[in-house]
């Protein structure tokens, strides 16, 4: 086991042993591989060299014109930047007219504001019930006349429903134990409402929508 290896560079092998044959073969194989790789690289370079030549021309051309257009281009870029910029604060401003109009309709048909503004603490449930009929009937009439309502889900409330992947999150709201991935299985708690058509009256230019109900004076 106690063999020592000495290195003597002046020593020359006198016989062709198996190890040296292997070494020679390995050197030959590697050099052939090297040649093939180099050749293929050169050929590839030669092929590509034709296309880049045009590209180079183009890139040369482009800067020549934009030299003048640079200002324009910057303007364009600014424009594009302008639209995405307010994105984080896109909040639609509701038109107060439509809201006032709806209040007006509910007041006219259902005495809605009268009912809401009245102090109901002083009255008995029976009295309030009588007035509630007016409000209920009128609201029902006003809503039916000006809106077409439909349920979002047609399933029975309390029944099991499955939401497949890509369901509309604005139409169906998930609550409770929200874990895992779609499809979600759950119970329909509320079937939801959606307006499919609105038929609000048109208003004349001079109409003051702030007056929900005009004061009435009998002569």
């Amino acid at each position: 086991m106690n063999t020592t290896y000495t290195i003597d560079l002046s020593l020359m092998p006198t016989t062709l042993d198996l190890w040296h044959v292997y070494l020679l073969a390995a050197v030959l194989v590697l050099s052939i591989i090297l040649i093939i790789v180099l050749l293929s690289m050169v050929m590839g370079m030669a092929r590509r060299a034709k296309q880049p030549a045009v590209e180079v021309l183009k890139t040369v051309e482009v800067p020549s014109e934009p030299e003048i257009k640079v200002v324009e281009k910057i303007v364009e870029v600014e424009k594009i930047v302008q639209t995405p910029a307010p994105e984080p604060i896109v909040l639609k401003e509701s038109s107060p007219d439509a809201a006032l109009q709806l209040l007006g309709l509910l007041q006219k048909e259902a005495r809605f504001i009268d009912f809401i503004k009245e102090d109901i603490a002083a009255y008995s449930d029976a009295d309030i019930g009588v007035a509630a009929r007016v409000v209920h009937e009128g609201c029902n009439k006003a809503i039916n006349e000006h809106f077409t309502l439909d349920t979002v889900r047609t399933d029975q409330e309390g029944s099991k429903v499955t939401l497949t992947e890509g369901f509309n999150a604005s139409e169906v709201r998930l609550t409770g134990n929200i874990v895992g991935k779609a499809p979600f299985n759950g119970t329909l708690i509320h079937k939801g409402w959606q307006v499919t058509n609105i038929r609000l009256p048109k208003l004349t230019a001079g109409h003051n929508a702030n007056i929900i109900a005009a004061a009435e004076v009998e002569l």
Binding site: E118, V130, V134, N197, H207
Partner: protein, 661 residues
């Protein structure tokens, strides 16, 4: 939607047409989703497409509501797409809504009442007259300025319909309008609404049909046509409402109507609208193997309808509430009660298990809970007031009760004195027993005491409630069974609210040869009163004979000349004739003189007047004339005085109503 008609031909159609049809269908299917956008879009595109289009437009000029329906005549489709115009109208000051019905009300606003610029309509900055929903709404709180039932006034003998007399209860200061002007205002509004939607298809260039009650007298028909002419609608034709309802039913049946009626059928059309009840009989006969429809009789003008029912109910409840509380209800409370009753009655009629509905009269102030009155409307009350009151179970021999009018008659509409619609019906059927005698296909048994209808078609909003419709049919069938006649069957599938307007639009197509046409002509024969040649008896008015000048059933576009009798008319002096109509005397030809008749047979209409203008003749000259009657294509009766000497013709006016009567 396509191809409901003419299935047989569809295989022959080229494939491209089929594809088009499919495309159309898809477009239709898309519509409901974004109807709002579609509406605005379509009105733009329609405006461009309108050019060169022709429509058949039907206007139901109702006592309480007007409706406009139309059919595109230029479309090549076999299918008839019928539409009802959404009429933009003010609902309260400053608010415009589109509704299919235009309430036939006109409100004469005080100048302090309406803020400037709050009566804008899509076609005008400030409307001349407040008509439609706004008129009804404002008028419910200020009745002295509300014009209602103008149509009934048109057919009211004894008033000049061009005289500003409405509202009849208004104080001096209110600038009144005439029934004629009111009618004109409703027509004008619908014309404007049409032209707003179809700016390139002026209404006067379309086929236009206006419906009138079958019981309208010649003067009322003439006034309706004149109102249309005065706003530029010169080509408007008239159609009787019950006929229109039947046309609508025929159109709705999609060609299947022939399987629902048989030769020999007598169809009774009962039209109970808001203000009037109109009855017509239409016989089904056969000519060379084709079914034919002939209108054989119409009823009297009965001012009795749904509004009377709501009022009756409200007054019953009012009495009940006053008895309970001891306080008198004020006028506005009765008004609110009438509204509440209208809705409550429908609830009771539509829900068989509901036996009572709470009625609430809210206070007028802003305190809703404090001053609100509450009571109940029960099924028993509805039954006793409406079903028993308006549709009593009577025998076929019963007749409407008419008390003599009291001497102090206020200047109002002659509302029917008997509220029993079934009694009016019994009277009508008995009176018209002979209506089908001339038709070979209709055989009435010998023992019949009244004309036996075999089918019934209902029309009018009142009969939407199944309880009332069933009752009416049951009473009629009980009469038929008592005479061993088969029960009359109900013709189903009618659209009770919009049928008249729709039928009128369909009639425009029928006139072009696409469908069966109801024949009929005039529903009455007409007579003038002439003094009989008898020695005068002091103190006695000279006897009057009725001279027939237009026979029953004169077709449109025909004329009858009076053969022998001549009258000497004085140039420049108005001459008046008494004028009579009979809707039962079918056999009287022109020239027949009646020296005796019963009140049943002949009804006196307003006098007619002739004034011969001087026109190159001497005043005071006596010109011998014949009277000649013609029925125009429009559907109005025209009387002429024809000079014997030179065939010169003078028109005789109907609308000289003796206002002072």
């Amino acid at each position: 939607m396509n191809g409901l008609f003419g299935h047989v031909n569809q295989n022959d159609e080229s494939s491209t047409e089929d594809e088009n049809a499919q495309e159309n269908e898809q477009q239709h299917a898309d519509e409901p989703e974004n109807e709002m956008e579609a509406q605005t879009e379509s009105s733009d595109t329609q405006a461009n497409q309108d050019q060169g289009k022709r429509y058949s437009v039907g206007i139901d000029l109702g006592t309480t509501h007007c409706v406009l329906s139309y059919v595109d005549l230029s479309s090549d489709d076999d299918e008839i797409t019928q539409q009802v115009l959404a009429i933009p109208q003010l609902t309260s000051p400053g608010v415009v809504e589109e509704k299919k019905q235009l309430p036939s009300f006109l409100y004469l606003a005080h100048e302090a009442e309406i803020a400037e610029g709050s009566t804008t309509l899509p076609w005008t900055a400030s409307a001349d007259h407040l008509v439609g929903d706004i008129a009804r709404n404002l008028g419910s709180k200020t009745p002295i300025r509300l014009v209602a039932s103008a149509k009934s006034w048109l057919c009211h003998a004894g008033v000049d319909c061009k005289e500003a007399i409405l509202p009849s209860e208004a104080p001096e200061e209110v600038g009144r309008v005439s029934p004629f002007q009111a009618t004109k205002a409703y027509l004008q509004h619908m014309k404007d609404a049409w032209e707003n939607q179809y700016p390139h298809a002026a209404l006067e260039k379309q086929d236009l049909i206006i419906t009138v009650p079958a019981s309208f007298d010649p003067a009322a028909r003439e006034l309706t046509v004149e109102a249309a002419r005065s706003i530029g609608l010169h080509h408007a034709l008239l159609l009787e409402e019950p006929q229109s309802a039947l046309y609508s039913w025929i159109n709705n049946s999609l060609g299947d109507w022939r399987n629902h009626v048989n030769v020999g059928d007598v169809i009774l059309v009962i039209d109970v609208g808001g203000g009037t009840t109109d009855l017509s009989l239409i016989a089904v006969t056969e000519q060379e193997g084709n079914l034919e429809l002939t209108r054989v009789a119409v009823g009297d003008h009965i001012l009795l309808g749904g509004d009377n029912m709501d009022l009756a109910l409200a007054y019953t409840i009012k009495a009940k509430m006053e008895k309970e509380s001891g306080n008198r209800l004020e006028a506005w409370q009765v008004q609110a009660l009438t509204h509440a009753c209208r809705d409550a009655k429908e609830k009771i009629f539509n829900n068989p298990e509901t036996d009572n509905v709470a009625l609430v009269v809210p206070s007028r102030g802003s305190s809703l809970i404090g001053g609100t009155l509450r009571t109940e409307l029960t099924r028993d009350e509805v039954n006793s007031v409406l079903v028993e009151g308006f549709l009593p179970e009577v025998a076929a021999s019963d007749r409407p009760v008419s008390r003599p009018r009291s001497g102090l008659r206020t200047k109002g509409l002659p509302y029917a004195q008997d509220a029993g619609i079934t009694r009016h019906l019994a009277g009508f059927l008995a009176k018209q027993q002979a209506a089908t005698d001339d038709l070979e296909h209709v055989n009435l048994p010998d023992n019949a005491s009244f004309l036996h209808p075999t089918a019934v078609l209902f029309n009018g909003g009142v009969l939407k409630s199944a309880v009332l419709a069933d009752r009416l049919l049951n009473v009629l069938n009980s009469w038929l069974t008592s005479e061993q006649a088969p029960e009359a069957r109900l013709l189903e599938g009618a659209d009770l609210d919009l049928a008249v307007a729709k039928g009128a639009a369909y009639y425009g197509m029928v006139r072009q040869g696409n469908g069966v046409r109801i024949k009929g002509g005039t529903a009455a024969s007409y007579y003038v009163g002439v003094e009989s040649a008898m020695p005068a008896i002091p103190g006695m008015a000279p006897e009057v004979e009725a001279l027939c000048i237009a026979p029953f059933g004169m077709e449109e576009g025909t004329e009858e000349a009076l053969p022998d009798d001549e009258f000497g008319l004085v140039i420049g002096e108005p001459v008046r004739f008494r004028f009579f109509a009979s809707n039962t005397r079918r056999e009287d030809g022109v020239g027949v003189r009646l020296d005796y008749w019963t009140d049943e047979e002949l009804q006196e209409l307003d006098e007619i007047e002739i004034t011969l203008p001087e026109e190159g003749r001497r005043a005071g000259e006596v010109v011998p004339v014949h009277l000649s009657a013609a029925v125009t294509e429009v559907g109005t009766l025209e009387l002429h005085a024809v000079s014997q000497q030179d065939d010169h013709r003078w028109k005789i006016e109907f609308d000289v109503r003796a206002g002072e009567e």
